[in-house]
């Protein structure tokens, strides 16, 4: 036994961890670049459907988000039907108009006609609520909309 022990005493060189910071920094930079800070914390289920004829949402123009979906776990008291979420809270249909007005008020005047409303709707929501919101948007003349979707084969939406 002692024969083996002696050899280890000679010392396995310690694994150099000098490159560890480099690796970590590499990961860090990736996440820093890819990060978009969450604007709103979602209180609803929001699994977006996919489509393949998508266009990139033009971030040069102002974008307002309207979320729709079933209340997620922890918010069951708001019911099981799809709800609208504006900013950080559940909203009624009648508040959509006011929301758009508030968004517009925060913009420079020349940008107001370019305001796009991105509808982030859960794939399980039904069209009733979406149509209602669209009707509200028409009333306040916010006509540029975008159905936000993932990129993928649209045929897979239905399963």
């Amino acid at each position: 036994m002692s024969k083996f022990k002696k050899k280890t005493d000679g010392g396995i060189p310690a694994i150099s961890t000098a490159s560890l910071p480099d690796i970590v920094f590499m990961l860090l930079f990736f996440f820093m670049v890819a990060t978009v800070m969450r604007e709103n914390s979602l209180k609803i289920k929001n699994a977006l459907p996919v489509a393949n004829q998508v266009e990139k949402l033009d971030k040069k123009n102002p974008v307002s988000y309207i979320y729709m979906g079933k209340p997620s776990a922890g918010y069951e008291k708001f019911g099981t039907e799809s709800r609208i979420q504006l900013n950080d809270q559940f909203a009624e249909l009648s508040e959509v108009g006011a929301f758009i007005s508030a968004e517009r008020a925060a913009l420079r005047e020349e940008l107001i006609p370019f305001l796009t409303v991105a509808l982030k709707v859960d794939r399980e929501a039904n069209m009733g609520i979406v149509s209602d919101v669209k009707q509200e948007l028409r009333k306040v003349n916010a006509l540029k909309i975008n159905y936000t979707t993932g990129v993928g084969d649209a045929m897979t939406n239905m399963n």
Partner: protein, 201 residues
């Protein structure tokens, strides 16, 4: 003078600092989806003026509450919708469209400018099905526009560039080429195959 070597800075804690930052960004990261289907809603008009459109120029797509698709009063699978829409749009019934390759069936649409796709859905329709249908209809327009772009592009010096690629290039700052000319081609194609998609409430 005796040169004294500078003491080495201990970089052992660098990894810890980097890890701290890394974990922060890991937690806050959401890779947001920022692509989608752009649509323009029709403005609410005060004057109720009925425009008379010939029945043959309307392509009715109905999506019912059970996500079943009814196209021109016939049941259809979503995967067949694109081809049906392309056939309808490109039909060229009155033979006025010189760039169409359609069947020239007099009982279908007159020309792409007059052809309207009417999409109707019910309140119980699922959003996923609705997006699939929207996607297929946009795809139908893109099929036609792509074909036209390949024809026009070769005349105008934009070889092997379909419509989607043209639009992408137009937005791309690194694109080397004549952007004003490209814009003209894009606008012309948009005019030749206008996206006339009406949604019934």
């Amino acid at each position: 003078m005796a040169k004294r070597s500078a003491p080495e800075v201990n970089a052992g804690s660098m990894a810890d600092i980097a890890f701290l930052l890394l974990i922060f960004f890991l937690v806050t990261t959401t890779i947001e989806k920022d692509s989608g289907i752009n649509r323009k809603l029709p403005p609410i008009e005060e004057t109720e003026e009925d425009v008379i459109i010939k029945q043959k120029n309307i392509f009715t797509v109905l999506l019912n509450g059970k996500d079943q698709l009814l196209v021109e009063d016939e049941l259809m699978e979503i995967k067949d919708l694109r081809a049906a829409a392309v056939e309808f749009l490109d039909n060229n019934g009155d033979k006025s469209c010189t760039y169409c390759n359609g069947a020239k069936d007099p009982s279908s649409s007159d020309n792409p400018d007059k052809a309207i796709i009417s999409l109707k859905n019910e309140r119980e329709t699922s959003y996923a099905a609705y997006i699939s249908v929207q996607n297929e209809l946009v795809a139908a327009y893109n099929v036609l526009r792509n074909k036209r772009a390949l024809e026009l592009g070769s005349q105008q010096g934009f070889l092997d560039m379909d419509f989607v690629q043209m639009q992408k290039n137009f937005k791309d700052a690194r694109f080397v080429g004549n952007k004003t000319k490209l814009k003209e081609v894009i606008d012309q194609i948009k005019l030749e195959y206008p996206q006339k998609l009406s949604e019934v409430q």
